[in-house]
Every structure is written in structure tokens, then in C-alpha cells.
């Protein structure tokens, strides 16, 4: 019954995507992205089970590593902008437009 897992992962992905759209705080937005990545992981492992090979699971590990790296970078950037602007709201950052 792997379908449920797929549905769940789809849900998680959707929640993440929606979160990116609705939340203002850069950190939270970023967390939502992470949520999406993990949704992918869930999908991968599920499919690995479906297909009966290990690739999916290995991929999941890769993704975790990449996600970790992303966190490092992301936090660095967000902290940097927070220090200058004293705010982590992504809506404050719109000098660049049109």
C-alpha cells in the first residue's frame, strides 16, 4: 500500500509550496522549502520500495546532504540580510522590481 505514502509526500510537497507562498519570514519560507525536499525524499523511498531497488533510498541520502548544505548557505544569507535590515520578512526586500 505505497500509494498512501505517495499521497502523503504529495501533500507535504503541496504544504511546503503553499507555505513558501503565504509565509513572510524568510526562515519559515526556507523551512517550507526544506519540507518540499523531504517530501521528495519520502517519494523516493516509497518508489524505491515500489520498484524494488535501492536507488531511491540512496538518492534520499544524497538529498539530505544537499539539503544540509542548502541550510548552511541559506541561513548565512538570511542572517546577513537580517543584520542589515533588522528584519527577516521577505516582503521588506523589494528594492529590485519592474
Amino acid at each position: 500500500m505505497t500509494t498512501h505514502y505517495l499521497v502523503l509526500s504529495a501533500l507535504l510537497f503541496a504544504i511546503g509550496a503553499i507555505g513558501v507562498l503565504v509565509r513572510r519570514n524568510a526562515i519559515v519560507v526556507f523551512m517550507c522549502v526544506e519540507l518540499m525536499l523531504n517530501a521528495c525524499n519520502l517519494a523516493f523511498v516509497t518508489f524505491a520500495r515500489q520498484q524494488g531497488n535501492l536507488d531511491g533510498q540512496i538518492i534520499a541520502f544524497f538529498v539530505m546532504v544537499v539539503a544540509a548544505a542548502e541550510v548552511v548557505i541559506g541561513l548565512a544569507i538570511i542572517v546577513m540580510i537580517f543584520r542589515t535590515r533588522r528584519s527577516a520578512s521577505v516582503d521588506d526586500a523589494n528594492l529590485l522590481k519592474y
Binding site: 513558501v20 507562498l21 516582503d91 526586500a93 522590481k97
Partner: protein, 639 residues
């Protein structure tokens, strides 16, 4: 008898007859190129070149006379002008040579006259350059052996006329008159061009020797060319002729053309250029004889114009305009004659030549008068000049008698011939021509009485005097011509038989019967006109200011509302059209182009607002895009 074949020839003077064109052209070139340096002797060069051309013409004429009739059409091919279309070739035949003699002869006299007339004008050298240019172009016109070269000369004289009418360019009226003359002529040229095109596409040639009456009839009978085509050609040629010869409906430019110096009016707008239309019709006889309809239209135009001109002449106080009206009228007679086939041709040409003399004579006389009266042209300010300038007066009188057809003077023979022939063709036209003669008698007498007789109505500062002999001698020579030419050309159909090789000869030659009904009627009417004029302008007091006058008078003064008509029909609508076109071009077409550009710019301006700068809206667009892509792919995939 049919016209003779053209035979190529290059011997004797005829071989070098191109000199007739070349000499004056050279003169013009020298005078224009070397400019002020030639101011001192420029006029002499001009005269010399004109006389040279005259000499060549005479020599060629003599040589032609020496040839048997059958060989009296000599072609001189110079070079290929437009390969496959037309050659630069001359045709020396009785018709062209008669014109050449008239042009160079009268032209030379007028050259000489101008030495005196323009002596005080700073632009005299330029004037002679233009005169030479005119002579050259006019000779090219009449000597051309095909329609294309003829057209070159045709427009050449147009240019010369333009330059000379506008000779005093600083006078706005002169500049305007010049432009008007050229443009109206262009309308005629439009017709001439189309005619040439039609001739070319029908006969595959524009050369006169290919376009004989035989060829035309052959084309019609073989069905290669419809009767309609030939008629069309005739009418189009006529349109061209009307332009040059100031015939209705293209007459309006001639009266304004009097803005030019008087010798110009004499040479171009009386003696030679304005008769080119008649030449064209006669030269194209082959087409007209095959197209009776066209011929009829020619005669109608002729009569209409001769009446119109006469009427206009009656009301003019400006002596030159009076003469101009008379010129229109006389050319009307010629046109009438030209529309009457071989017989008419001869009379038309005869009248043309005679008119060349007596009208030039009178114009120069008028010039001499103006010269004496500090360029006053209003006859109401003349009067009683006979006593102070006898030569001028006498010669003018001779011209006057000639034009009204005083028995045994030139006009008597030539005009009468035309009237007689017209009668034979069409009574109505004939009688109208007779009436015209009567009116001529009136307005010419009016002119003479107002100018030379009656009380002196001079301006206070006017001290009239006889003109120098350089001016009077030409007058005398011309008046001699005015006296005898008519008789010489008409009696025992001398000219008719001379022209025969060129235009053909009618079966039965017309006799000369002076006491025919029309002839006598004409004389009577003329007499009435003269007498009436005497009472109005000779015996009676002439007011110095023109009275309001009857409706008819105003009608005539206003040139029969010709200009008003043109203005209402063409000028104003034309200007309006031009203004609208400009507006349409800027707002319409260009507006479309710029509008498109502006539209794109505007779109851009609005679209870039989508780029709000909010990262979340970007994310939304990505998600949205993703959704669309997914949807699209599913749609395509499951099709």
C-alpha cells in the same frame, strides 16, 4: 495624292541640317556657361546663331526645291537615341522646312529687335541665351522625324517659354504665369505621351515614315488597330495640341504669358511655339484622316477657340492681352483648317505663316509703343500716338489690316481660304468662323483707334518717341511680309502644291473665288465691326478708367471665367487634396507605424509591473507556471 516616301539622305546642306538645331543650342550653351564674361557681345552671338540657322534653313529649302517632288522628303538619321525605340533623326520636307524658315526668319528679326528692346535690361545676355534655346528646341520639334524626338523639342520649347515668361522672376506675377504655362502645357503633354504610347503599342514604331496614311488604313482594315484606337490617338494628339496652342480648354495660360518681355510674346506666344499644335495635327494627318470623329472635334475646338479668343480680345485694355486674345482666335482658325484635311492643311499653314508675320509685327509694334510709353500697357492711357511714332504706327496698321482680312493683304487670302473650306465641310462651323472674322474686325480696330488715334490720354511723365532703327527695321520687314505673303502662298495654290509631298494633295484643287457669299459676308461683317469700333473708340471719348461694362464685357474681361473655372475645378480641390494627403500620411500611415511602436512600449510599461519585486509573487508565478506546464503536458499527453 498620297504623301511621298521618306528617303534617307545625307548629302548637301540637308545632310548637315542638324546645324539648324546645333547652332542656336551652341549659342545658348556658350551664353549660359560663360555667364557674365559674355555680357558685352552675348546678344550679338545670339543674333549670329539665329541668322546662321536661318541661312542653313534657306540653303536646305533651296536644295529641296531642286529635287523632284517624289524626293522632297529627306530623312537625316543622326544617331540611335533610345535603342529599339527611337532614333535621333531629322525630317526635311516641305512642311518642316516651311516652319524652319518661319522660325528662323521671324526669329532672327525678333532677335535683332530685342537688341534694342532689351538694351537697358541687366539680364539681356540671359535673354538671348533663352531665345537661342527656344529656336533650337522649336527647330528640333518641327524637324524631328519621329514622335519621341518631336516630344523632346515639344517640351524644350515649353521650357524656353517657361524661362522667358518668367524672365523677370522677381515679379511674382511673372513667376506664377511661367509656372502656370508649364503646368497647363504638361496637361497637354500627358495626352501627347499617351498618344505616343498607343501609337507604339499599335504600330511598333514612332517614326513618321512608318506611320503613313497607308499604314494606318492597313492596320484598320487588317483589324490590328480598331477605329476606336485611331480616334483615341487623334483626340490625345489634339489634347497635346490644345496645350501648346492655347486652344480650349487649355487656353488659360496664354493671356498670363504676356508677363514675358514683348519680343517673347511676339516670337513664342504669337508667331511660332503656339502654332506647334497646328503643326502636330497636320503632321499627324494620317491619323486624323482615318478618324473623322477626331477631325470633327478638332474643327469644333478650333471654332470654339476662335470665338472665345475674339470675344476676350474685345474687352482687354492691356494691349498685349488684346493681342494675345487675337492670337488664340487666329490659331483657332488654323486649328479649324487643320481639321479639314489636305485642303485645310494648306490654308492652315498659310494662315499660320502669314499670322506669324503680321502678329509678330503687331506685337513688336506694341512693344515699340510700350518702349515709348515707359512700359505702359493700358491702351486707355495711349491715344493719338500716330503722330509721334509714325513707323511703328504705319507698320502696326499694316499688320492690323492684314489680320482683319483687308482685301489683298495676307489675312484676306489665308483666312478666307479656311472659311471657304469650312463652309464646304460644315455650314455651321463656317458661319461661326465668319462671325469670328467680324468680331476680329471690331477688336483690332478698337485696339488701333485706342492706341494711335483719338485724344492723347498719356500719363504726365510720358514722352513718347519713335524707337531706334534696330527695332523699326524688323517692323518694316515684317510688315512687308504681312502684305504680300498671303497672296504669294495662296494664289494658284502655291503652298498647297509645295506641301503636297508632305501632307498629300486633294483630288481637286480649290479655286480662288473672291466674290463668294461667305467671302462678301465676311468683308461686310468686318466693315461693320470696324465702323462700330470707330464710333465707340475713334470718334467718341475713351474714359481713362474702364467703365463697369455689361455682363458680356465682364465675361470677356475675366477671360470667359477660364481661370475661375480652373481654380474651382482643379486648383482649390488640388490644394485641399494635397493638404489632406499630407495629413493622412502623417496621422494615418505614419501614425499607424508610430502607433504600433507606442503600443509595444505601452504594453511593456504595463507588463513590467508584473515584476513586483516580492519574492513570494515570483514563487507564485513559478508555481502557476508549473501548474500550467503540468496541465498542458497532461492535455497533450492524453490526446
Amino acid at each position: 495624292m498620297e504623301p511621298a516616301e521618306i528617303i534617307q539622305h545625307s548629302g548637301g546642306v540637308i545632310g548637315v541640317s542638324w546645324l539648324m538645331v546645333a547652332l542656336p543650342l551652341l549659342g545658348a550653351a556658350i551664353l549660359l556657361l560663360f555667364g557674365r564674361r559674355t555680357d558685352r557681345w552675348g546678344h550679338l552671338l545670339g543674333v549670329a546663331m539665329s541668322l546662321g540657322a536661318f541661312a542653313v534653313a534657306v540653303a536646305a529649302f533651296v536644295q529641296l526645291l531642286g529635287l523632284p517632288e517624289a524626293q522632297r522628303r529627306q530623312g537625316v538619321r543622326l544617331y540611335e537615341f533610345i535603342p529599339g525605340l527611337a532614333d535621333m533623326g531629322l525630317l526635311i520636307d516641305p512642311l518642316s522646312i516651311s516652319f524652319a524658315l518661319l522660325i528662323t526668319g521671324v526669329g532672327s528679326l525678333i532677335h535683332i529687335y530685342s537688341i534694342g528692346y532689351m538694351s537697358h535690361d541687366p539680364g539681356r545676355r540671359r535673354f538671348f541665351a533663352y531665345l537661342n534655346l527656344f529656336v533650337a528646341a522649336m527647330l528640333l520639334l518641327v524637324l524631328a522625324d519621329n514622335y519621341v524626338v518631336l516630344f523632346v523639342g515639344w517640351e524644350g520649347v515649353g521650357l524656353a517659354s517657361y524661362l522667358l515668361i518668367g524672365f523677370w522672376q522677381f515679379k511674382p506675377t511673372a513667376a506664377a504665369a511661367a509656372k502656370k504655362a508649364f503646368i497647363v502645357n504638361r496637361v497637354g503633354d500627358f495626352g501627347l505621351l499617351i498618344a505616343i504610347f498607343t501609337i507604339w503599342t499599335t504600330f511598333g514604331s514612332v517614326a513618321f515614315n512608318e506611320l503613313t496614311g497607308g499604314a494606318v488604313d492597313g492596320a484598320i482594315s487588317s483589324g490590328d488597330a480598331s477605329q476606336g484606337t485611331i480616334t483615341a490617338v487623334g483626340l490625345l494628339l489634339l489634347l497635346g495640341a490644345c496645350g501648346k496652342s492655347a486652344q480650349l480648354p487649355l487656353q488659360s495660360w496664354l493671356l498670363d504669358a504676356m508677363e514675358g518681355p514683348t519680343p517673347v510674346s511676339a516670337l513664342i506666344h504669337a508667331a511660332t511655339m503656339v502654332t506647334a499644335g497646328v503643326y502636330l495635327v497636320v503632321r499627324s494627318g494620317a491619323f486624323f484622316e482615318a478618324a473623322p470623329t477626331a477631325q470633327l472635334v478638332v474643327t469644333i475646338v478650333g471654332v470654339a477657340t476662335l470665338l472665345a479668343g475674339a470675344i476676350i480680345g474685345c474687352a482687354k485694355d492691356d494691349i498685349k492681352k488684346g493681342l494675345a486674345g487675337s492670337t488664340m482666335s487666329q490659331i483657332g482658325y488654323m486649328m479649324l483648317g487643320a481639321g479639314l484635311g489636305p485642303v485645310g492643311y494648306a490654308f492652315a499653314i498659310a494662315h499660320l505663316i502669314a499670322h506669324g508675320f503680321f502678329k509678330a509685327n503687331m506685337f513688336l509694334g506694341a512693344g515699340s509703343v510700350m518702349h515709348a510709353m515707359n512700359d505702359e500697357v493700358d491702351m486707355r492711357k495711349y491715344g493719338g500716338l500716330f503722330s509721334v511714332m509714325k513707323v511703328t504706327a504705319a507698320t502696326f496698321m499694316i499688320g492690323y489690316l492684314a489680320i482683319i482680312g483687308f482685301p489683298l493683304l495676307s489675312g484676306y487670302f489665308t483666312k478666307d481660304g479656311i472659311i471657304e473650306t469650312a463652309m464646304e465641310h460644315n455650314q455651321i462651323l463656317g458661319w461661326l468662323a465668319v462671325v469670328g472674322a467680324g468680331i476680329t474686325g471690331f477688336y483690332m480696330s478698337r485696339m488701333v483707334f485706342m492706341t494711335f488715334f483719338g485724344k492723347r490720354r498719356w500719363a504726365d511723365d510720358a514722352h513718347p518717341h519713335e524707337s531706334p532703327s534696330v527695332m523699326t527695321v524688323p517692323l518694316i520687314l515684317l510688315s512687308i511680309g504681312s502684305v504680300f505673303l498671303g497672296a504669294f502662298l495662296i494664289l494658284d495654290n502655291r503652298l498647297m502644291r509645295f506641301l503636297a509631298p508632305a501632307v498629300g494633295l486633294p483630288e481637286h484643287l480649290p479655286g480662288f473665288h473672291p466674290f463668294s457669299v461667305p467671302g462678301l459676308t465676311t468683308l461686310a461683317l468686318v466693315a461693320v465691326g470696324v465702323v462700330y469700333a470707330w464710333f465707340r473708340y475713334g470718334a467718341a471719348e475713351v474714359p481713362r478708367l474702364a467703365p463697369r461694362g455689361s455682363f458680356l464685357t465682364t465675361f470677356a474681361r475675366r477671360d470667359l471665367y477660364g481661370d475661375a473655372l480652373n481654380e474651382a475645378l482643379f486648383m482649390r480641390p488640388g490644394q485641399w487634396l494635397a493638404r489632406f494627403a499630407v495629413f493622412f500620411d502623417n496621422r494615418g500611415i505614419d501614425g499607424l507605424v508610430n502607433g504600433l511602436a507606442a503600443g509595444i512600449g505601452g504594453t511593456s510599461g504595463r507588463l513590467r509591473r508584473i515584476q513586483t519585486g516580492y519574492v513570494r509573487s515570483y514563487a507564485l508565478s513559478i508555481l502557476f507556471g508549473a501548474a500550467v506546464v503540468v496541465g498542458a503536458l497532461l492535455y497533450v499527453g492524453n490526446m
